[in-house]
Symmetry: C2
């Protein structure tokens, strides 16, 4: 097992009554609250009214940053930073999924420096020295951002999608009520499931290959995600299935599954320029890229992919070669994404063949694990996904 | 899935180089440090010298509380509290296993109140309002105390072994170097493994019974613990096996496996008066009590014990009834403890038949789960373990 440091101070309130914990959390922070949210679905569901009532009952001065988009952009972060400085914001309350939370994290550190947040943190990776506290009410299980310290922001002008992390941007609290996900549009739900599986793969399909607790835990999470996704597809109001989907996506990125592992974020690195260039949903992009990537590195990662096939996808490998077993696991991954209704090709995503070179140019090649990728490897992978 | 709150702010440094993180941690705290340790094995191994060198290099004033015994006692806690008050201690540094850490936690809260620590916290369960910060260097994987907020202290005069927990007693940091366990006496190692399995059982063998992530994670931890215990028995210097044993025992009690579960601490509750009355090692007591308890509640917990047998002990249930499968899992648990060299009967522990009534009188009956236990149930369970 490789050495590791593990630290995660997020306080999680999970379940049917989790929202009842919001007033107690609000008491811990100052009076000026900036509420960040997305496209307005929280107004339709009544969640906005409920949270606003809690904020008012707690005597808060409420400011708002609505309209945080998927693949949140620098412009929105600058907007939030300006409000924070002007209104002396004491708490950021992000209500939504990973995009809203990631935007709030960037605002949290950006508002506490005189420097340009993009250049200082997302380009130069300077260490943040202060951040406005952040709380989360999660409505979309997918990115795990509610339980991690990372933020991913897109700079459309530069065609860059970069990440930053700081212990100061761990949420102080995260409220997770699975019932809030009943009304999610199917495509968002599916993208969230693909994103979660992809995170679990990036952690699990990486060295070292010997037995260890972390790998057993990752397999447990993968089996749970697959089972719950199928149950929620049959009955969208299956509470236990929704609970497992929500908690598994959070657990996936809480840090436990990094412990002792090299990890391999190649699929995410290849997908990032696709969503930066074409604004496709991150999960949809991953559904196309990840299986293509695994088929490409199959021979380099043979024992691990064989183990994935057997332990996660229940492949009976009697009479099969190691490679046949490994490929069958990848085939089942692809079939599962298709079963959910996720896109399977770049063409379905609206990404033309001519753009492959450009995507490869923009791919960060530093996140590989079993095999060092070149620009040409990325081109080859994407060609198999057309 | 039941609602839950999860919070665990311990910073873990794990691995071969984990000790190198101690100086950085020491910088975060004030000058006066109380070093707590047990019977002196850390002097024989050189660990004491290394830590003292780090403390001196960091410019600390070092005070010592040596001789913390297994089943740590109130007297030792009072001794520590007195030093803390007199010397204005800024940091408690516990070097050892669960006994040393538990003693340090009691000192941490006890030194910050004018009340009697035993009465206020371990009897009246008052909420602690302050605690001296605590750091840990772990030498014995077993209790998980390095990653939780609980402390168990024995009052020999009252024949009571009580527990207390407070978020203020989470260690600020925990240094876990598996190589430090190479030199552990076999009996301590075995007791630690039994304690860990028992913790995992108390969490896993409890309602609800439907599928959920937490149960999958517990099964993963159990399989890891069993595999690693066997590997370490063959080769005590198998680093990866020692690493899995250390990390699994910590993970078991970090709180992740409580999430959504009722939990069932009946075996621990029956064992506590045994160690309070006879000062037997906690793990040794559990090796006797836990299988006896499971056989007693087998019919009440049938689906769960059947699942344990199949998923953890690889029982092939073809042609077996549900009860036969469940009992086979318990039989394999008992056989595994025996294979490790743990005691199997009260007689081996030196606990006479005449004491059974007394033990039952002192057993806390509030921690059951599948079946409400009476004093007579406890007597019956212990009789089967003679």
């Amino acid at each position: 097992m490789n050495d590791f440091m593990y630290y995660n101070p997020v306080r999680v309130h999970f379940g049917r009554e989790a929202m009842a914990e919001l007033p107690g959390e609000l008491e811990k922070f100052g009076k000026n609250v900036l509420l960040l949210y997305g496209g307005g679905s929280i107004k339709r569901t009544g969640l906005y009214d409920r949270i606003l009532a809690d904020l008012r009952a707690a005597g808060k001065n409420v400011f708002e940053l609505p309209g945080v988009m998927p693949n949140p952009r620098t412009e929105k972060v600058y907007e939030g930073i300006e409000i924070c400085r002007r209104e002396k914001i004491d708490l950021l309350l992000a209500v939504g999924g990973g995009s809203t939370i990631d935007c709030a994290k960037a605002v949290a550190v950006g508002a506490c420096t005189d420097k340009d947040f993009w250049q200082a943190f997302f380009k130069d990776w300077e260490t943040a020295e202060a951040a406005i506290p952040l709380g989360v009410v999660l409505t979309l299980p997918a990115t795990g951002s509610e339980l991690d310290k990372s933020s991913v922001i897109t700079n459309m002008a530069a065609h860059e999608k970069n990440s930053y992390d700081s212990e100061l941007t761990f949420p102080r609290f995260a409220i997770l009520d699975p019932a809030l996900t009943y009304t999610l549009p199917k495509a968002q739900m599916v993208n969230g499931i693909v994103d979660t599986i992809s995170h679990l793969y990036e952690l699990y399909i990486s060295p070292p290959d010997e037995e260890c607790l972390t790998d057993e835990l990752a397999e447990a999470a993968l089996r749970t995600e697959i089972r719950a996704a199928r149950a929620a597809a049959v009955n969208p109001e299956d509470y236990d299935a929704r609970a497992d989907l929500m908690w598994t996506s959070s657990f996936a990125l809480c840090g436990m599954l990094n412990n002792g592992k090299k990890t391999d974020w190649a699929s995410h690195c290849i997908e990032h320029p696709i969503s930066a260039l074409y604004d496709v949903a991150h999960g949809a992009g991953l559904a196309v890229v990840h299986p293509a990537y695994l088929d490409y590195i199959c021979l380099d990662a043979l024992p691990r992919l064989r183990r994935l096939a057997i332990r996660v996808w229940d492949v009976d490998d009697a009479g099969m070669t190691e490679e046949e077993t490994a490929r069958e696991g990848i085939r089942r991954t692809r079939a599962f994404f298709r079963e959910l209704g996720a896109p399977a090709t770049l063409t379905e995503l609206g990404v033309p063949a001519e753009s492959i070179g450009r995507i490869a140019d923009l791919t960060d090649l530093g996140c590989f694990s079993y095999r060092r990728l070149t620009r040409e490897d990325v081109v080859s992978i994407l060609k198999t996904a057309l």
